[in-house]
């Protein structure tokens, strides 16, 4: 299935692009998408997405079709997924 992955903030900078269309196995969840993106782009994006245990960071914001969800939520054909790591003021 095809999904669109959009990066926000530091993740956009690390990925070097705004968004990309990716092909994932049917039934893949958001965590699998994060893993896929980490493998595809490597560092520095990888360490911004995944913890030392190779799971998505607890602070990672994952919005599927504009609704923030856990990384265990299953994606659907055509899903739009926005990934962001928290930013702050100053």
């Amino acid at each position: 299935m095809k999904v669109t992955l959009e990066y926000f903030g530091m993740l956009r900078e690390a990925a070097g692009l705004n968004q990309e269309d990716l092909e994932l196995p049917a039934g893949a969840d958001a965590g699998a998408l994060v893993q896929f993106a980490a493998e595809r782009h490597g560092e520095p994006l990888r360490s911004l997405l995944l913890s030392a245990e190779e799971v998505p960071h607890s602070w990672l914001l994952i919005a599927i079709d504009d609704v923030v969800e856990s990384h265990q939520v299953e994606l659907a054909q055509g899903s739009h997924v926005l990934l962001s790591s928290p930013i702050s003021g100053g």
């Binding site: 530091m10 602070w59 504009d66 923030v68 926005l82």
Partner: protein
């Protein structure tokens, strides 16, 4: 005169906003009676405080430690070049009093911490979080939740910004959304003053809406803007 009661001088000063749909004299009186904590008053907080002062908030508590540096001046619009080396928060207070002599300003020469958060948050009606460090934000957010006070959470990086509003019983807290500080976050990050000014104005508008009781604040929603492409997303956050 009751707190918040408008004078003829108030009606004259704020006539351009008194006609805003859903606001009116009742909304203006609420702003006049309100007290807001802004922490800090850097690029983001300067814009928040300036807009709130202009809008007629009765009392602003500003918390920001340290002295002004030259590299603050690309974004900290309440600062002036002749103030370099002196306490930032005092410069901010001076500029705000110049803008609005009716405003009561309390300048605290310290950043928010676990030590002072409860006391400072306890004396206001709303908090606008403009702080760069997550430890500082957690302390402020926890104190606001403990007292049931609304808090507007503003953030920025490069040409991106986010803003959401939170309150105990109505939304999740900052700690629930961001369980631990991101290890890669750094105190200094790339940003233009126009970006901090944009999110600061949005933060001030959120505060005005919440205090005056009109419009639709960003409860359980986060506005995410990319000023590089001028694209926006309004995402729904998990509820408590």
């Amino acid at each position: 005169m009751c707190p918040g009661e408008l004078t003829d001088g108030d009606r004259s000063r704020y006539q351009w906003q008194l006609g805003v749909s859903g606001f009116g004299e009742d909304g203006q009186a609420r702003l006049k009676a309100a007290s807001v904590l802004v922490s800090r008053v850097g690029g983001l907080g300067s814009a928040v405080a300036y807009e709130l002062a202009a809008a007629g908030i009765g009392r602003l508590v500003l918390a920001h430690g340290g002295n002004l540096r030259a590299d603050d001046l690309n974004r900290q619009l309440l600062m002036t070049d002749d103030w370099i080396g002196k306490p930032r928060v005092q410069c901010a207070a001076r500029r705000l009093r110049e803008l609005n002599p009716d405003l009561e300003v309390v300048a605290i020469e310290a950043n928010i911490s676990d030590t002072n958060a409860a006391e400072l948050v306890g004396e206001v009606d709303l908090v606008v979080d403009c702080a760069p460090l997550f430890e500082e934000r957690y302390a402020m957010n926890a104190a606001a939740f403990s007292k049931g006070i609304p808090i507007v959470e503003c953030a920025m990086y490069d040409l991106d910004l986010t803003i959401t509003s939170q309150q105990h019983g109505r939304t999740r807290s900052l700690r629930e959304l961001v369980p631990q500080p991101p290890v890669h976050w750094k105190r200094e990050f790339p940003v233009f003053g126009a970006v901090s000014g944009t999110v600061g104005c949005l933060g001030a508008m959120e505060a005005i809406k919440i205090l005056a009781g009109f419009g639709e604040p960003l409860w359980n929603r986060m506005l995410m803007m990319d000023l590089r492409s001028m694209s926006t997303r309004l995402v729904t956050l998990p509820t408590p």
